[in-house]
């Protein structure tokens, strides 16, 4: 009797189980990706709720509190002018995430439009655009970003611009490849026979259908962009003090490493975890979306 009830119960359970979203299912099965997602969520929450989590001002100088070691008041200690390092890391997360997202979205948008134009019109225009992109790709990306940032002057905007420039060719190539395939599709040819103008075909028929690989690339690139911003900041070519930027904080803090270990260590740890998180998620998404890599 009891066996029967257990049986009917399990049947009803099977019947009521909702279909599992395959994307979510695969993420759940991959602990590393899940960890990456957790890190990303942590950074996101930190940047959104920074003012609620900490009551300190990230740029206010308090000379009496300089180089205070980690304690209940200052979880990660203070720096050479008495600013709370934990607070600066929270605001730094906000900056890094914002800059990373903005730069990659900007580069993605510009690159996609250029790539679609290049692929759709073809011919000489295509040749010129693609050779220009090859020139950009020929340089090691960090070296080129440094050169651009140094030439334009060291500040955050120019660092963002420099990173966007080195990221654009990737999107141009992606969008161009998709466009070449789409151009031959019947619905695009049909639009031509209906007299739709080329610009409109690119904007409404090509680009919306070329976006999926671009979106994947965007998710993969954000972490990289964050790391690049910090790198330029560390080299003095990005955000300038007193901006609470992780790279700039490490750049000043590393001189104090032996006496006040907490100063460069915590921003470094934050940067490490952030790029770790983005890379784990990027790998996870690539595994999920690439059917050939299925284990």
């Amino acid at each position: 009797m009891s066996g029967m009830t257990a049986n009917t119960e399990s049947i009803s359970k099977v019947a009521t189980t909702k279909p599992v979203n395959p994307f979510w299912y695969k993420i759940r099965r991959n602990p590393l990706t899940l960890f990456g997602l957790f890190l990303l969520l942590l950074i996101l929450l930190a940047s959104i709720f920074a003012p609620l989590i900490s009551s300190y001002d990230p740029t206010k100088i308090n000379i009496t509190q300089r180089f205070a070691p980690p304690s209940g008041d200052h979880w990660f200690g203070t720096d050479e002018v008495g600013r709370d390092i934990f607070t600066r890391i929270l605001y730094g997360a906000r900056l890094s995430l914002g800059v990373g997202v903005a730069v990659v979205f900007g580069a993605g948008l510009i690159g996609t439009v250029i790539g679609a134009i290049s692929g759709y019109f073809g011919g000489k225009l295509d040749q010129i655009i693609m050779r220009l992109m090859d020139i950009v790709l020929a340089f090691p990306s960090l070296v080129l970003a440094m050169a651009v940032a140094a030439t334009l002057g060291p500040n955050l905007q120019n660092a963002m611009l420099a990173i966007a420039i080195i990221k654009i060719p990737v999107y141009v190539r992606l969008a161009r490849a998709e466009t070449l395939a789409l151009r031959e599709k019947l619905f695009v040819k049909a639009a031509v026979t209906f007299g739709i103008k080329p610009w409109r075909i690119i904007a409404r028929h090509i680009i919306p259908n070329a976006l999926s690989p671009v979106v994947i690339q965007v998710t993969l690139d954000i972490g990289d962009a964050i790391l690049l911003v910090a790198t330029l900041g560390f080299l003095g070519l990005g955000a300038q003090p007193p901006t609470p930027e992780w790279g700039a904080m490490i750049s000043i803090g590393w001189k104090y490493l032996l006496d006040y270990w907490w100063y460069p260590t915590f921003p470094g740890l934050a940067l490490f975890l952030a790029s770790c998180g983005f890379n784990l998620i990027g790998d996870g998404i690539r595994d999920i979306l690439d059917p050939k890599a299925n284990r």
Binding site: L186, A190, T193, F194, G195, R200
Partner: protein
């Protein structure tokens, strides 16, 4: 005369080869007329259509001939003029309704985009017009269908949408490239009827490209039979189908399943189309023709009146029956 193609020759250059896809093709279409273009794959039907729309690939050249539409030679128009002509004056319906629609745009928006392009009305008005044009192609509940994506519609519905798209401007000439080939037989008939009715209502001419003589018999007033890029026979549907003169036309009609004697194998035409890189000196059909004469391989026949007295019926054959 709405459209007059005169002695049109189209060549494609690929690597070192020159392929003559069309040779001396002359086709005319009157206002409100439905003309069938019949021929097997590679006979130049679709190339003719693309040439009219100015959509030939870059490796194509037009060494001779003219296409006059409403008194203007289409071959001399520039890019902008051609863009304005496409859709607005000449619409096109494609063979595969499955892939001819934008997969991620709603039906109503696709229609409105074309209507907005060709008429001086706002997008909102164009959208309302789009719903009306869906009703005109006999789609029930056009407002609901306008909000749908192509993948939510059946093949027959999609072809109705494609026809609505092609006719939305509305054009005076509709080129339909095998519009019913991808559809099942019951739907085929409905689609043909729909095109016929719309054309009659608006006075639209239709150039119906097909390889199905049954379709021609059903809707076309005149028919042009093409083979290897040449017009081999042309005339009223009645004349050409009932008194075919060219051996190729005869063979095509003989291959029709509807006319076959039950229990007997269908007759097929032996051999294959000639290599268009080296056109034969004589008649293009000579190598496959059952009744070829010595002159057939020597000299190419020209399109001449068949059967004395019937001016509309012309044939290019040395065995032309002129009695």
């Amino acid at each position: 005369m709405l459209l007059e193609i005169k002695e049109l020759t189209v060549e494609f250059t690929s690597m070192q080869d020159k392929i003559k896809a069309l040779k001396n093709v002359s086709i005319s279409i009157n206002q409100g007329e439905i003309v069938g273009i019949v021929g097997e794959s590679g006979s130049g039907k679709s190339v003719t259509a693309l040439t009219i729309l100015g959509l030939l690939e870059k490796n194509a050249s037009i060494p001779a001939g003219s296409i006059t539409y409403k008194g203007r030679n289409i071959l001399t128009l520039d890019k902008k003029e051609l863009q304005a002509l496409r859709g607005k004056e000449i619409g096109m319906v494609f063979q595969e309704p499955m892939t001819a629609l934008h997969p991620t745009m709603r039906i109503g928006d696709q229609l409105a985009e074309v209507i907005h392009r060709h008429r001086r009305i706002s997008y909102r008005e164009a959208y309302q017009q789009a719903v009306i044009s869906l009703a005109e192609v006999q789609i029930n509940d056009p407002e609901l269908v306008a909000r749908k994506y192509p993948f939510e519609l059946s093949g027959g519905m999609r072809q109705r949408v494609v026809i609505a798209l092609a006719m939305s401007a509305p054009p005076d000439l509709l080129i339909a490239d095998e519009p019913t080939t991808a559809l099942d037989v019951t739907i085929q008939h409905e689609i043909l009827k729909l095109m016929q009715d719309l054309a009659a209502k608006r006075g639209t001419s239709i150039m119906l490209i097909t390889h199905d003589l049954g379709v021609v018999a059903e809707v076309c007033q005149r028919v042009v039979v093409m083979y290897a890029g040449e017009v081999v026979e042309t005339g009223t549907t009645e004349e050409v189908l009932h008194r075919p003169n060219h051996p190729y036309t005869k063979a095509l009609i003989g291959a029709l399943p509807d006319l076959a004697v039950p229990g007997q194998a269908l007759s097929a035409i032996p051999g294959e189309s000639p290599d268009l890189r080296n056109r034969p000196r004589g008649c293009v059909f000579a190598s496959r023709c059952a009744d070829s004469l010595p002159i057939c391989v020597e000299e190419s026949p020209v399109l001449e009146q068949a059967y004395n007295g019937v001016h509309t019926h012309q044939v290019a054959c040395w065995r032309r029956e002129a009695e």
